[in-house]
Amino acid sequence: MPGLDYNTLVVLVGTVALGIAAGVTGSLALLRRRSLLADALAHATLPGVCLAYLWTGERSLPVLLCGALLSGLLGVVIVSWLPRVTRIRTDAAIGLVLGVFFGIGIALSGHIQRTVTDASQAGLDSLLLGRTAGMLFNDTVAIGVASLAVIGVVFFLRKEFLISCFDPGFGEVEGWPVLALDLLQLFLLAVTVVLALPAVGVVLTAAMLVIPAVSARLWVDRFGILMILAAIIGGATGGLGTLLSARFESLPAGPVIVLVSSSLFIISLLCAPRRGVIARALRSRSRTLNRETRRLLALLLEAKSRGKNTVPHSHLLGRERSVRRRSLDSAIARGWVQLDGDGISLTEGGHQRALRGRRALQLWHAYLEDAASIDRDLVDLDEEQIEKILPAEKVLELERLLSSRTEGGDG
């Protein structure tokens, strides 16, 4: 690519690798409802960084990150331990660890700032908000290797992780080391968080993990595909954010990466095919339309059975005028209803349709009376869907029930 100097390239590779690893572990965290645990973890790394610095007295990144990893892990362990032995709930435990550890870290870093004279603070301060541009070749190599390791572990244990996300009880019955798997997941999360710290900083690390996973979740429903898509989104937004911030020099890369991935999230939220806001609004609109059309046909059928073939307009357009109007238009467009002077009447096709709808409704009512407990998903009195939802024998049985009832009523 033209205009891409060596430094930018190094940073680009680093952020892409980071984004991929964060997408993978982030989707695991999302499925276990642990998204904000990543945030607590990131904040909990600060005292470790400061202690490592105080202890060794040098500002080498690997040493600081080891300290970060250890104190982050301690924080996570406390978060998962507190709710089990006390009445403190998980959310409060996360808040506790996040606030207290970060406070201790700030107190320590204040101490360092005032006592250690040559501490230019750059090493510690850059961890708070991240300094992507300061990434060196060695850092990139380290991030790349660690990301590969994280992805490799997740790939080899994908089946176990899948079960632990959706049915931990099953894993326990199967005799898997559920606790160890859980700890491994937390460890992978911690490693990713620690890798992301120098790049995007304490506060925005959570974004690297959460946002790509949430965006991917809007598009897909399957575990493996979710991870792959989250990894792709994470990598792409990492790369794009880095390029943008290299282009506009005043902007720090970390926040730009986050903003790029939030934009992608907003697009996903709007446009995703099944879970997207637009798709759901359209679905709900078409469902309303179908229901109103059905009611219109039923109304006309009833009028016909009373000998009135044509119903005047004014009878139909009462409340919810626009919906009625649209349903009438759609019924006419589909050839079920025809305009008849001042009113409207059923066509032959519409008559058939209305009869089918009435039968389905009767069947549903029979079924609902029959079944004591009904899955809520099934109770959608949608026209002619009954054969698709209930087994054929059940429909036959219901029909027998219905006919015997009408005969009984006649006799």
């Binding site: 904040h43 406070g103 107190a107 320590l108 101490h111 506060v203």
Partner: protein, 419 residues
């Protein structure tokens, strides 16, 4: 030592810092209690990070670091965080935690980018948002209109918010209480749960915004959660919990300010560390929910169960033997000694015999076991070979009143079926 303590506490500089710290942590503790009870602790985290763009925009629009425009911007951003995360959770099919995570990190990133691109080279930097500037409190004092004393300027918003919080909480105390513990009941009583929720969110946003100028955004999270969680370990009722939480907030403020002075470090950091210490102390030592009292209660119960089992076995051994013991090893030794010390065994040895009182107790236990077996068999239709274990476990927990009731019911039923 004590003199030194008070001297350091009441030196004017420290006192004004302490005043700000105590008011901030009390205000946070008050609203934090309701957040913790409603499992919304992390909302404080989300709000305190999410206000950043509001602050920056307030700054850019007004062009100065005057408080009012920045506070208005921050309050708007805070409400945006709560409303957006609620909306994402309810309409975007996204897990509540993740929704909050998306919203506040996005806003924070937006804030930093705005700050770097439009508000550069001013004394507004991410650090002052993260850490707060409580140390500067004594440098900017104002005198109050009707009082003689001079107070730090940064105390004013915090004090106002604290008073508003107190008034609102007292005014809607009953509603808040019911909504915190049983939203369904609240709804059925005709309380507008949504309105109460929004009111609480408004209080939290206001408090967060007013406090973090002094104590910094992350420490607001600590102040919201730590005192409330500490109080939760000490109290079982709401009113004491609120009072204890506010008291804990004061303690944290005092310890934090003194510790920061002593160690020469940041006040908010030390306050959070002090909060952590106080919480750890409570987790271990709380009389009702602490680890030590929990361990003590559990050990006592285990010992009672073990000794009752051993007593039964010894009593039964006079009639039949060959049955394997349920209690082995150290527990058995401890149980035998307990039984001897209570005077239920003749000697602390394996070959000991139950005393007169021991026999009486064993008989009572045996009666309960049989009763429970009968109950399981008749009322719960448990198969014969599954009776032994549950009956064994439950016999230790039946008090005489419950036994009486069960035996009455069983007798009545048997009378019915035979007649």
């Amino acid at each position: 030592m004590i003199d030194l303590f008070f001297e350091s506490l009441f030196s004017e500089v420290n006192f004004s810092i302490l005043l700000v710290a105590a008011c901030a942590s009390m205000a946070c503790a008050l609203v934090g209690t309701f957040l913790v009870l409603r499992r919304l602790s992390l909302l404080g985290d989300a709000i305190s990070h999410g206000v950043l763009p509001g602050l920056v925009i307030g700054f850019i629009v007004s062009g100065s670091r005057d408080l009012p425009p920045m506070l208005i911007g921050a309050a708007v951003a805070a409400l945006l965080v709560t409303i957006a995360s609620d909306w994402l959770r309810d309409h975007g099919m996204i897990d509540g935690n993740a929704a909050m995570g998306v919203v506040f990190t996005t806003l924070f990133a937006l804030g930093i980018v705005l700050m770097e691109s439009h508000a550069r080279s001013v004394d507004l930097d991410p650090g002052c948002v993260l850490y707060g500037q409580i140390e500067l409190a004594p440098l900017d004092m104002v005198s109050l209109p009707f009082l003689e004393t001079r107070v730090p300027r940064s105390l004013l918003p915090i004090a106002v918010v604290l008073i508003i919080d107190l008034l609102v909480v007292l005014a809607v105390w009953k509603e808040l209480k019911i909504c915190s513990f049983d939203p369904a009941l609240a709804r059925s009583l005709g309380i507008n749960v949504r309105l109460v929720h929004l009111l609480l969110m408004l209080l939290v946003s206001m408090t967060t915004v007013a406090c973090f100028e002094s104590v910094g955004s992350v420490l607001v999270v600590a102040m919201l959660v730590v005192p409330a969680a500490t109080a939760q370990l000490l109290c079982n009722r709401l009113a004491p919990m609120v009072i204890v939480a506010m008291a804990a907030g004061c303690v944290i403020a005092v310890v934090g300010v003194l510790g920061a002075d002593h160690l020469d470090t940041s006040v908010p950091g030390m306050m959070a560390a002090a909060g952590g210490g106080l919480f750890a102390f409570t987790v271990v030592l709380s009389p009702s929910h602490g680890l030590i009292s929990r361990f003590y209660r559990r050990t006592r119960l285990s010992l009672r169960i073990a000794s009752e089992d051993v007593l039964m076995e010894m009593w039964n051994a006079r009639e039949k033997d060959g049955e394997e013991s349920r209690v082995r090893g150290r527990w058995r030794i401890a149980a035998i000694w307990t039984l001897w010390l209570r005077g239920w065994l003749t000697s602390p040895r394996r070959s000991a015999q139950p005393t007169e009182r021991g026999t009486r107790l064993a008989r009572a236990l045996e009666k309960r076991r049989q009763l429970w077996k009968r109950f399981l068999k008749r009322q719960l239709l448990t198969p014969e070979d599954h009776l032994y274990d549950p009956a064994h476990r439950i016999e230790h927990h039946l008090d005489s009143e419950l036994s009486e009731r069960i035996s009455r019911e069983l007798d009545q039923e048997e009378g019915d079926s035979s007649s």
